[in-house]
C-alpha cells in the first residue's frame, strides 16, 4: 500500500487519492455515529430502484425519436419549401439522423435491457421510421420525389420512326 | 412643270387613249395618279462630321423596300408613289429614326401619322412634309460585366459574417469611452408609470393589509433586538 501511495504521490505532488478502499485494514477507529451498515443499505436500496429506473431510462431512449417529431415538424414549417440551401440542409439532416440511428441500432440495444426490451426496440424502430417518413413528406412537399410523369420525361426515348418518307416540289 | 404631277400631259394622253384599244397591263401602272412623298432627314452634327458619307448609308424604305428613296445633298428625299397608305422608314445602321405612316387619298391629300400596329386606326399626326429627327444610337452590344471590389465586399455572405464581428469589436470600445457613457446617462429615458399603477391597485384592493404589515414588521424588529 505504501508503494502504491508513493507511486500515486509521484504523479501529483500535493494531491490526495481519495478512492474508496473501505476493505483496507485501517487501525483508526471509525468516527462517532458512523454505522458501516448504512452504506450497504443505501447500496441495496439503489439496487432495488435500479431495475425500475433502468426500464424507465430505456423507455426514455426508446421514445426519444418520437419526442423529436414535433420539433422537426416545427422546424420544417419554419424553414419553408423552396429549393435553397437551408431547406436542403434540413432535409438532409432529417434523413441522415434516422438512418444513422437505424444502422447503429446494436449499440442502443445494449442499453435497452429488461423485460420490456422487445417492446422498446419496436417502439424505437417505429420512432425512427416515423422520423424518416417525415423527411420523405418534406421531400414530397418540396417536389423532390419523382411521383409525377414529368419526372420520368428525361428517360423517355424518342419514338422510333417506322415509315420513311420524303419528296417535295416536282423537279421536272 | 414637274414630271409626275403634270395635269395637262395626263389629260391629253387620257383623251387620246380613250378611243384606243386597251393593252392589258399586268404591273401596277394602271391609271393611277402618282404623288410625291417628301421629307428631310436630320443627323446629329458631331456624328455627321465623323461620318461624312452618312447620306450614302441611309436608306429610305417605303413599305419595306417596295419603293426606295435616296437622300440628296441637303438630306432631303422624295418618292413618287400611287395613292394609298405607306410606311416610310428611314434606316441608318447607327441611329434610330422613327418610322411614319403616310396616307395619300386619291385626291392627293397627305396625312402623316405615327405608326400604331396594335390600333391601326389611331391617328396621332405628325408634320408633313416629313421631318426625321435622329433618335438614340443603336446599342448592339452588351457590356461585359466588370469585376468590382464592391461586389466582393458587399455580397450577402460577407456582410452576414463580417458585420456582426465588426459590431462585436466596436461596441465595447464605444462603451469604454467615458464621453459616450456620459451621453448615454444624459439621455433621459421616459420614466415608466408601472410602479405607480401597482401601488394604486394594491391600495385599492388591500389597503388594510398594508397597515397590518407595518405593525408586524415593527414587532419583529423589537423581538430581534431582545434576542440580542
Amino acid at each position: 500500500m505504501a508503494m502504491s501511495n508513493r507511486n500515486v504521490s509521484k504523479k501529483f505532488k500535493w494531491s490526495i487519492d481519495l478512492s474508496n478502499r473501505n476493505k483496507s485494514t485501517c487501525d483508526l477507529a471509525s468516527p462517532p455515529g458512523y454505522l458501516p451498515s448504512i452504506a450497504t443499505t443505501v447500496a441495496e436500496s439503489t439496487k432495488e430502484n435500479d431495475s425500475s429506473l433502468l426500464i424507465k431510462r430505456s423507455w426514455d431512449v426508446a421514445l426519444q425519436p418520437l419526442k423529436q417529431v414535433p420539433m422537426n415538424l416545427f422546424m420544417m414549417y419554419m424553414v419553408g419549401s423552396s429549393i435553397s440551401i437551408f431547406p436542403i440542409m434540413m432535409v438532409g439532416m432529417m434523413f441522415v439522423r434516422p438512418i444513422r440511428a437505424l444502422f447503429s441500432m446494436n449499440q442502443t440495444f445494449k442499453m435497452l435491457e429488461g423485460t420490456q426490451a422487445i417492446g422498446q426496440i419496436l417502439v424505437y424502430i417505429l420512432g425512427q421510421l416515423v422520423a424518416l417518413g417525415l423527411a420523405l413528406y418534406k421531400c414530397q412537399s418540396m417536389g423532390l420525389l419523382p411521383t409525377h410523369s414529368s419526372d420520368w420525361l428525361a428517360f423517355i426515348d424518342p419514338q422510333q420512326r417506322i415509315e420513311y418518307s420524303g419528296g417535295g416540289q416536282t423537279l421536272l | 412643270m414637274k414630271l409626275s404631277v403634270d395635269c395637262t400631259f395626263f389629260s391629253t394622253l387620257i383623251v387620246c387613249l380613250s378611243f384606243s384599244v386597251c393593252v392589258k397591263s399586268n404591273e401596277g401602272e394602271t391609271s393611277k395618279e402618282w404623288f410625291k412623298i417628301e421629307g428631310k432627314v436630320q443627323a446629329p452634327d458631331a456624328w455627321a462630321k465623323l461620318n461624312p458619307d452618312w447620306k450614302l448609308h441611309t436608306d429610305v424604305l417605303i413599305d419595306g423596300g417596295e419603293y426606295r428613296a435616296f437622300l440628296r445633298d441637303d438630306a432631303s428625299f422624295s418618292v413618287s408613289v400611287p395613292s394609298g397608305s405607306y410606311v416610310v422608314e428611314v434606316f441608318n445602321p447607327s441611329i434610330y429614326y422613327e418610322p411614319v405612316r403616310v396616307d395619300i387619298n386619291s385626291k392627293g391629300k397627305f396625312r402623316a401619322r405615327r405608326i400604331n400596329h396594335v390600333q391601326p386606326s389611331a391617328v396621332s399626326q405628325v408634320t408633313y412634309p416629313l421631318k426625321f429627327k435622329p433618335g438614340m444610337p443603336y446599342r448592339y452590344f452588351q457590356q461585359r460585366e466588370q469585376w468590382r471590389v464592391t461586389d466582393l465586399l458587399f455580397s450577402p455572405m460577407v456582410l452576414m459574417m463580417f458585420l456582426p464581428l465588426i459590431l462585436i469589436f466596436i461596441l465595447p470600445k464605444m462603451m469604454n469611452d467615458p464621453e459616450t457613457r456620459k451621453e448615454m446617462e444624459n439621455i433621459q429615458m421616459p420614466k415608466y408609470e408601472m410602479p405607480e399603477m401597482s401601488e394604486m391597485l394594491t391600495s385599492l384592493f388591500g389597503g388594510g393589509d398594508a397597515a397590518k404589515k407595518t405593525t408586524k414588521s415593527s414587532g419583529s424588529k423589537q423581538g430581534a433586538v431582545k434576542r440580542k
Partner: protein, 922 residues
C-alpha cells in the same frame, strides 16, 4: 393600364436576358462580303480609274478599277420586276440610270454617289418598245405605243440638270409591226424585223424622214433560216448573221459601213472610253473567240486598220463562262503608246478586269443568286487520323502484345507531330484562334466550327468557302446543265475516316429534259470517278429525289432514290449494297411529289419493290387548290422537317408537373397555298399539315385579306409562318403547336397509320417590320433552345427566342402564377425588336433572300449563313455558351487567387503553430 404596364415591365426584364454580342467579339467569328450582282451595264469614267456598273440585281455601283472594290452602291429597288434598263454617263460627272416598272430616271453624282434628282414617269399603258439615249443636255426617251391606227412614236426629252420635261412629240409609224427590234442611236431609230430583210431608219425628231434600206444593199446575204440580229454599241449599229458581222455608222443618208474587217468569231464589240476627249469615236475594241482563249483587237476606224501592237490576248480562268459584256478603256501611256483595259462580264456572273498583260481582278457576282447551301465537315487532322486508324482497324495483330506495340508507336508518332507543330507555332494552347489566319489547313477543329460551305448558284457555279475566313477554296462551273431546278445532296460526310466524302448535284441536261448527276468530292472539288468527269447522264428525267438514311452496309453512303417521270424508282449509286438497303426498307418507303401550279400532291409507296425490279405504286392524291376560274391559287411553299433533326424532350412540362406530350410526326409536311384575285377576300393563304405517308390532312387553317411575302418555318412540333395582313397593314407571325395530350399513344414507335389526332394550339402576333427570310436554329442533340432568325428588309437579322411566339402565352387577364412558373410570358400583341438581338450589328445585308443554319459539334453553337445581295456568316448561341468557357474567363485572376490562398494557408498554419508553441511555454 396598370396590368399592361406591369406586364410590359416583365417583358422588358425578360428581354434583358436575351443574349447578345459583346463589342470585343466583333470579327472573331463573323464576316460579311458585299457584292453587286451580275453586271449588265459597265462604263469606264473619263479617267479610267473608276467603273460605273449597273447590275441585274437592280444595283448601281461604282467600282475602283485598280482593286475592284466597291466605292459606293445603291440598291434601286427590291422589287424583282424592276430592272435597270439603261445607264449613261453624263458629261458633268454624273451618271443617269433608268429603271422600268416603274419608269424612273435617276441622276447620281459619280464621285460621291449622292442622288442629284429623280423623276418618275407614270404610264397608263405599257409601251411596246422604250429606248433611251443621252444628248449633250438632255435625256431622251423614245417610246412606241400602240395607237388607233397602228403604232405611234412618242419622243420625250428631259433636261439633264433638273429633270424637267422639255418636248414631247408624237409621230406615226405605219410600217411598224410587233416583234420588230429597234435600237436608238440618237437621233435615229434603226429597226429590223427578224423576218423582213430590210432595215428601217427614222429620225425621231422629224416625222417625215423614213428610210427603208434593203439588206442586200448593205451587202448582207441572208440564208433561208438565218436570222439577222441588230445590236448597238454607243453610236454604231451592228448586224450579225451566222457567218458575218458588220458594223455601221448612221448618217442622214443611211447606214455607212465601217470598212474594217470583222471576223465572224467576234463575240462582243465595244466603243472604248478614251482618255483624251477628241478621239472619242475613233477607236473600236472587239473580243474575238479563239480555240483556247480570246483575243482583244483594237481597231482604228479612221485609219481603218487593226492596231496589232496594241491588241492582245486574254485568257479567262477555267471556271468562268462565256463573255457576254465587254467594256473597254483606252489610254495613252507616257511613252505615247496606246494601252487598253477591259472589264468583261461572263455567263457565270463574274466580272473580270485586266489589260494586255493579265487579268488583274475578278469579282464573283454569282454569290448574289444563291440557290442552295450545304455546310460540310472537314476531314480530320493527321494526329486524329492516326487515332482513327488505330481504333478503326479490327485486325488482330498478335493479340495483346501487338496492340500494345501499335499503341506505343502511334502515340510516339503523335508526340512527334505535336512537338513539331508547337515549334512551328501552329497550336494555340489557350483560346480559339482569331479569324484572318489564311494559312490554316483545311482540317476539322475541335469544336466543329471550321467547315466548308458548299454554295450552288443560279448560273450553275459551285463554290466552296471556308467558314473561318470566307475565302473561296475552290469553284467550278457546271457544264451543259440547265440550272432551272437543281438540288445538291451530301451523300457522305468526312466523319467516316477513311471513306472519302461525296456530294451529288441533280440537274437537268441542257439539251434534253433528262437528268444529269454531277458527283464530286466536296473538300477538293474534284469530280468523282463516275461517268465522264463526274457527270452521269441518266436516260430518264427525274421528278423527285430522296436521300435515304445511311448505315454501315452501304459504307455510310446515303443512297439517293430517284423517281423518274413514270414514277419508277432508281437508286444512285447503283451498287448492290445500296439496292439491297432500299429493298429492305421498301415496305416503309414513301415519296410524294407536288405540282405547284395545279396544286396536286401525289404519294407513292415502294412496297412492291424486289431486288431485281424496283417499283412504286401511287397510293394517294390530294387536290388542294380551288377550281374556280377567277381565282389563281398555287402552292407557295412546301416545308418538311430536317430528316436528321433530334428532339430532345418528348413533351412539355406543365406547372402541375404533368406532361403535355408533343405530336412528333416525322412524315408531316407543311404545304402553304396562296391565292390572289378572290372577289371578296382578295389575297388569301391556306396552310395544310399533311402526312405524306397516309395522305391525311392533319390540320388546316386559312387567312384572308393577306398578301405575300409568305414564310414558313417548321421544326419539332411547331410551325411559325409569316404573312402581311392587308386589312390592318402590318406583318403578322402566326404560331401553331401540336400536342398528343396528357398521355402518349405509343411510347416506342410512331407510325403514320396509327397516329393520333393532335391538339393544336395557335396564336398570332404582330411584327413591326418587314420579313424577307426566316429560319430556325438547329443543334446537334436538340437540347439548346430554338431561336428564330428573321431577316428584315432593312438588312438586319434578328434572333428571336421561340418563347416569344409560344401559342400558350395567356392574355394578361387569364395569366395565372402557374404560367409564370412554367416560364411563359403574358401575351402582348406586338413583338419587340431590341437592338441587342441583331446578330449582324451594323453590318447590314442588303436584300436578304435566305438564311441557312447548320449545327456545329458544340451543342450550344449553330453556324448561320445569310445570303442576299451580300453574304454574312456568324455563330449563334441561343442558350449562351453553356458548354465552353466564356471568352472573358479570367484564367489569370483565378490562378492568382488560388496560389494566394494556398500560400496564405501555409503561412497561417506556420504562424498558428508558432503561436500555440508560445502559449504552451507560458
Amino acid at each position: 393600364m396598370k396590368i399592361f404596364s406591369y406586364s410590359l415591365c416583365i417583358v422588358f426584364i425578360l428581354i434583358q436576358t436575351i443574349n447578345g454580342l459583346y463589342e470585343d467579339q466583333i470579327g472573331k467569328f463573323d464576316w460579311r462580303q458585299q457584292y453587286i450582282g451580275k453586271v449588265k451595264h459597265a462604263i469606264f469614267d473619263s479617267t479610267g480609274k473608276k467603273i460605273v456598273v449597273g447590275t441585274e440585281e437592280n444595283t448601281l455601283a461604282l467600282l475602283h478599277a485598280g482593286t475592284g472594290k466597291i466605292e459606293w452602291r445603291h440598291l434601286l429597288g427590291s422589287n424583282t420586276k424592276s430592272k435597270i434598263t439603261s445607264l449613261f454617263l453624263l458629261s458633268n460627272g454624273k451618271v443617269a440610270s433608268i429603271s422600268n416598272i416603274p419608269t424612273i430616271v435617276r441622276v447620281f453624282d459619280v464621285s460621291s454617289g449622292i442622288l442629284q434628282w429623280e423623276a418618275a414617269v407614270a404610264k397608263d399603258i405599257q409601251p411596246v418598245l422604250c429606248k433611251w439615249a443621252v444628248s449633250k443636255r438632255d435625256i431622251i426617251s423614245v417610246e412606241i405605243n400602240p395607237s388607233r391606227s397602228g403604232y405611234d412614236l412618242v419622243l420625250t426629252e428631259y433636261s439633264s440638270i433638273g429633270g424637267t420635261e422639255n418636248v414631247a412629240s408624237t409621230t406615226e409609224l405605219p410600217w411598224f409591226t410587233l416583234g420588230t427590234n429597234c435600237q436608238l442611236v440618237f437621233p435615229h431609230l434603226v429597226c429590223l424585223h427578224p423576218q423582213e430583210d430590210a432595215v428601217n431608219i427614222v429620225d425621231v425628231r422629224n416625222s417625215d424622214s423614213h428610210q427603208r434600206i434593203e439588206l442586200q444593199h448593205l451587202g448582207i446575204t441572208v440564208g433561208a433560216d438565218q436570222l439577222v440580229t441588230l445590236g448597238v454599241t454607243k453610236n454604231f449599229v451592228s448586224l450579225r448573221t451566222t457567218g458575218t458581222f458588220s458594223l455601221y455608222k448612221i448618217t442622214d443618208e443611211g447606214l455607212q459601213r465601217t470598212s474594217a474587217e470583222w471576223p465572224s468569231e467576234t463575240v462582243l464589240v465595244s466603243v472604248p472610253t478614251v482618255k483624251d476627249a477628241e478621239a472619242q469615236d475613233q477607236y473600236m475594241a472587239a473580243l474575238i473567240k479563239r480555240e483556247k482563249n480570246y483575243a482583244v483587237k483594237i481597231y482604228d476606224l479612221e485609219a481603218n486598220q487593226v492596231l496589232e501592237d496594241v491588241s492582245g490576248d486574254m485568257k479567262l480562268p477555267d471556271h468562268a463562262g462565256e463573255p457576254d459584256l465587254l467594256s473597254t478603256f483606252l489610254m495613252r501611256k507616257p511613252n505615247g503608246e496606246l494601252s487598253y483595259r477591259y472589264a468583261i462580264s461572263t455567263t457565270d456572273d463574274s466580272l473580270h478586269y485586266g489589260s494586255k498583260k493579265e487579268v488583274y481582278w475578278t469579282r464573283e457576282e454569282a454569290l448574289t443568286s444563291i440557290v442552295q447551301v450545304e455546310m460540310v465537315d472537314l476531314p480530320v487532322s493527321s494526329i486524329e487520323a492516326s487515332i482513327e486508324e488505330e481504333f478503326g482497324s479490327d485486325q488482330a495483330l498478335g493479340g495483346i502484345l501487338g496492340h500494345t506495340i501499335k499503341r506505343l508507336s502511334s502515340q510516339f508518332r503523335q508526340l512527334l507531330i505535336v512537338t513539331q507543330q508547337l515549334l512551328a507555332g501552329q497550336i494555340s494552347l489557350v483560346r480559339r484562334e482569331a479569324v484572318g489566319n489564311n494559312n490554316k489547313a483545311l482540317e476539322r477543329d475541335r469544336f466543329g466550327l471550321h467547315k466548308l460551305i458548299l454554295i450552288l448558284t443560279r448560273p450553275g457555279k459551285l463554290f466552296a468557302m471556308d467558314t473561318l475566313s470566307g475565302r473561296i477554296v475552290w469553284q467550278r462551273l457546271l457544264k451543259n446543265v440547265n440550272i432551272d431546278k437543281v438540288r445538291l445532296y451530301v451523300q457522305r460526310t468526312s466523319i467516316h475516316y477513311p471513306l472519302e466524302p461525296q456530294c451529288t448535284i441533280l440537274a437537268k441536261s441542257s439539251t434534253s429534259n433528262q437528268a444529269v448527276l454531277f458527283v464530286f468530292h466536296p473538300i477538293t472539288g474534284e469530280p468523282a470517278q463516275f461517268g465522264s468527269e463526274g457527270y452521269v447522264n441518266l436516260d430518264y428525267s427525274v421528278q423527285q429525289a430522296l436521300l435515304l438514311p445511311q448505315n454501315e452496309e452501304t459504307e455510310y453512303m446515303k443512297p439517293l432514290l430517284l423517281l423518274d417521270e413514270s414514277a419508277a424508282p432508281h437508286v444512285f449509286p447503283p451498287t448492290e449494297s445500296a439496292i439491297n438497303h432500299v429493298v429492305k426498307m421498301s415496305n416503309n418507303l414513301f415519296m410524294f411529289v407536288a405540282d405547284t401550279k395545279s396544286c396536286v400532291l401525289r404519294g407513292y409507296s415502294l412496297a412492291k419493290s424486289t431486288a431485281d425490279h424496283l417499283a412504286s405504286a401511287a397510293v394517294w392524291q390530294l387536290q388542294l387548290c380551288s377550281s374556280s376560274d377567277s381565282v389563281e391559287e398555287e402552292i407557295v411553299s412546301i416545308v418538311s422537317r430536317h430528316p436528321e433533326e433530334k428532339v430532345f424532350s418528348q413533351g412539355r412540362v406543365l406547372a402541375d408537373r404533368s406532361v403535355l406530350y408533343k405530336y412528333l410526326n416525322p412524315n408531316m409536311v407543311v404545304v402553304a397555298t396562296a391565292g390572289t384575285n378572290h372577289p371578296h377576300h382578295r389575297g388569301y393563304l391556306n396552310l395544310y399539315l399533311i402526312d405524306v405517308v397516309s395522305g391525311a390532312v392533319v390540320f388546316s387553317t386559312s387567312h384572308r385579306r393577306v398578301q405575300p411575302p409568305y414564310h414558313v418555318v417548321y421544326a419539332e412540333n411547331w410551325i411559325i409562318y409569316a404573312y402581311y395582313n392587308e386589312k390592318y397593314r402590318r406583318t403578322e407571325l402566326s404560331s401553331l403547336e401540336l400536342f398528343e395530350g396528357q398521355t402518349q399513344s405509343n411510347s416506342t414507335a410512331f407510325s403514320s397509320f396509327s397516329a393520333p389526332q393532335p391538339l393544336v394550339d395557335r396564336q398570332a402576333y404582330i411584327y413591326p417590320s418587314h420579313i424577307t427570310a426566316m429560319k430556325d436554329t438547329v443543334s446537334e442533340q436538340g437540347m439548346t433552345a430554338k431561336h428564330i432568325l428573321l431577316g428584315l428588309s432593312n438588312g438586319w437579322i434578328q434572333e428571336m427566342p421561340r418563347a416569344f411566339l409560344d401559342p400558350r402565352r395567356p392574355v394578361v387577364a387569364a395569366a395565372t402564377p402557374e404560367m409564370r412558373e412554367e416560364g411563359i410570358m403574358p401575351y402582348l400583341p406586338e413583338l419587340p425588336i431590341p437592338a441587342e438581338a441583331i446578330i449582324n450589328y451594323n453590318q447590314t445585308i442588303s436584300n436578304i433572300k435566305s438564311i441557312y443554319v447548320t449545327p456545329s459539334s458544340l451543342e450550344s453553337t449553330a453556324l448561320v449563313f445569310a445570303c442576299g445581295l451580300d453574304i454574312f456568316f456568324t455563330h449563334v448561341t441561343p442558350s449562351r455558351t453553356f458548354d465552353v468557357l466564356n471568352d472573358d474567363f479570367e484564367y489569370g485572376f483565378i490562378a492568382l487567387v488560388l496560389t494566394g490562398l494556398t500560400l496564405a494557408s501555409f503561412i497561417t498554419k506556420r504562424l498558428a503553430g508558432k503561436k500555440s508553441l508560445r502559449q504552451a511555454w507560458k
